[in-house]
């Protein structure tokens, strides 16, 4: 297949997976588009450099946002596999130099997967006074895939990192999330994870935030629905190490049918001026909420659906 056909097919599948493709063509957006292990398109904008190379079955990508650059439009990353089987290995290094600011939207989609592996190792470095809003969304088709995003993130002094991870549509398969963050002085890290388990999905989420710097702040929020025969295990670690560091862990897991959920919050405070709170709620959908929606004329099933959709929004 020639390059153009492959790109067309890719965009087609991307749209069928529920995404809007306009931005993939616009030169205003920096982008990296990968099918299987091949770079289909790469676009840089001023102040954003994207370097890739392929070695030993792994695609290495290095994205740098130059000092002081505030990227106007979101940087788009697409990692797709259109084949039923593939072993996609990606190694991403993302560097925000001092004072850089960007938003990044990352779509991972494997619409035809029967046995797709997607292993993503990431290393994100936010130097001082930088800001990154990172959104990652997954779609693994009807059969699910085996997906492991493992990312280490360093949030520098006065820097701000917010990430949202969403896997809400389709069957997930096996998901193994592992995020480790170190947050420097006055740095902020907020992680929001929203996952909907169906069929026999197996979901493992490990998120660790080390509030190392003085006055650093962190939020770990997970919202999980485990329906049918899916299983979900969430481990959230928040450590208050720096003076006056503040952290909050907030986990809500809902089960329906034969879903199984567990939550292990680990909150550690090793500094007497640090303060960490956590709340967790596991079980069926809140009855009072269901009742209230039923008083508006919804059936129980409809009410539950609206509540879960809201939680995972």
């Amino acid at each position: 297949m020639n390059y153009e056909d492959e790109f067309k097919q890719f965009v087609n599948a991307y749209e069928k997976s529920g995404y809007v493709s306009n931005n993939l063509f616009s030169p205003k957006y920096a982008k990296l588009i990968v099918n299987e292990s091949k770079v289909l398109s790469k676009g840089e904008v001023e102040g954003v450099s994207i370097k890739t190379r392929f070695k030993n079955g792994t695609l290495y990508a290095k994205i740098t946002i130059k000092k002081g650059v505030k990227v106007k439009y979101p940087i788009h990353m697409c990692f797709g596999v259109l084949k039923e089987k593939w072993n996609q290995k990606i190694h991403t290094t993302l560097i925000l130099e001092e004072g850089a600011e960007a938003k990044m939207i990352s779509h991972c989609f494997f619409p035809n997967s029967k046995n797709v592996f997607h292993i993503m190792k990431g290393n994100f470095i936010l130097k001082n006074n930088s800001k990154l809003i990172y959104e990652e969304e997954h779609f693994h088709g009807k059969n699910g895939a085996i997906v492991k995003p493992h990312v280490k993130i360093k949030v520098g002094k006065n820097s701000f990192y917010v990430s949202t991870f969403k896997a809400k549509r389709g069957v997930i398969g096996k998901l193994d999330i592992n995020y480790k963050l170190d947050v420097g002085e006055k740095g902020v890290a907020e992680l929001y994870t929203k996952v909907f388990g169906r069929k026999k999905d197996k979901i493992k989420i490990y998120e660790e935030v080390n509030l190392k710097g003085n006055n650093s702040r962190g939020i770990l929020q997970s919202r999980v629905a485990a329906t049918e025969n899916s299983q979900c295990n969430v481990k959230s670690v928040m450590r208050g190490l720096g003076n006056y560091s503040r952290g909050h862990v907030d986990c809500t897991e809902i089960i329906e049918e034969n879903g199984v959920v567990s939550a292990i919050p680990i909150v550690e405070v090793k500094n007497k001026t640090a303060h960490i709170t956590h709340e967790a709620s596991l079980g069926r959908v809140n009855k009072k909420q269901v009742d209230t929606l039923m008083t508006k004329g919804l059936t129980e099933e409809e009410a539950v659906e609206i509540i879960i959709r809201g939680l995972l929004r």
């Binding site: 809140n286 209230t292 508006k296 609206i306 509540i307």
Partner: protein
């Protein structure tokens, strides 16, 4: 004409009967106040009518049909709506979306209704989560009642959480709703609110003790409260 009738309703919990052979008739078109001190069973009564609370005994009739075993959503569909005393918050649901649950409303209608209940129209885009104040939450629920033109609206302490200044607006809203044909069961312990009622019932220990004109029932209620106070002192 009787719209709603409850006969010999019993609700039992581990600690005993919360409603104890309660009977009540509500006529079509009236504002009927239910007055009683804390814990006499007013909210339980409201929930029984809406179907949120199961009865151990007794029958409920609405428009002459037995609805004792009808589900909550079916009761909603035949025109019974409730404003709960403590409505829950919802994560990730916008006020606009909430008001559209169970009916078709344009964004213009929504903004008009929000204005009517004293909320800025930008609130249509706000989430119905716990960042809303108690009074604002209550106003959203009043708006929700207004969206559906119910035959019967059960208002469980609509005035709680609403500031003094806005009480007259609230009374106006209730009266208007009533004029448009909604029968209202108005649960309150504020005599001020009960003034707009056509009829009032005094509730004591899980029973309706007396039904009569609101003035008479209010003064009876005051006497009851004084007696209760004496007993406690």
């Amino acid at each position: 004409m009787i719209l709603l009738s409850l006969k010999h309703i019993i609700v039992k919990k581990e600690r005993g009967k919360i409603l104890d052979r309660l009977s009540l008739n509500v006529n079509k078109g009236e504002i009927h106040a239910i007055i009683g001190t804390n814990g006499v069973g007013k909210t339980t009564l409201a929930n029984v009518i809406m179907g949120l609370e199961k009865v151990s005994n007794g029958r409920i009739k609405f428009q002459n049909k037995d609805i004792t075993n009808l589900s909550v959503s079916k009761r909603a569909k035949i025109g019974i709506k409730i404003l709960q005393q403590n409505p829950p918050s919802f994560e990730g649901i916008k006020i606009r979306e909430y008001l559209k649950v169970g009916n078709e409303l344009s964004i213009k209608d929504i903004k008009r209704i929000l204005k009517k209940v004293g909320l800025p129209e930008e609130y249509s885009e706000r989430f119905l989560d716990d960042t809303l104040s108690g009074g604002e939450r209550k106003r959203v629920e009043i708006a929700s009642i207004l969206t559906s033109n119910p035959k019967l609206a059960i208002l469980d302490e609509p005035d709680s959480g609403i500031d003094m200044l806005s009480i007259s607006d609230l009374k106006k809203i209730i009266k208007e709703l009533n004029k448009e044909g909604t029968t209202i069961l108005l649960i309150t312990h504020r005599g001020e609110i009960a003034k707009i009622a056509d009829v009032a019932s005094l509730m004591c220990n899980g029973k309706i003790k007396k039904t009569g004109n609101p003035k008479e029932i209010s003064s009876l209620f005051k006497k009851e409260c004084k007696n209760e106070l004496r007993r406690r002192v």
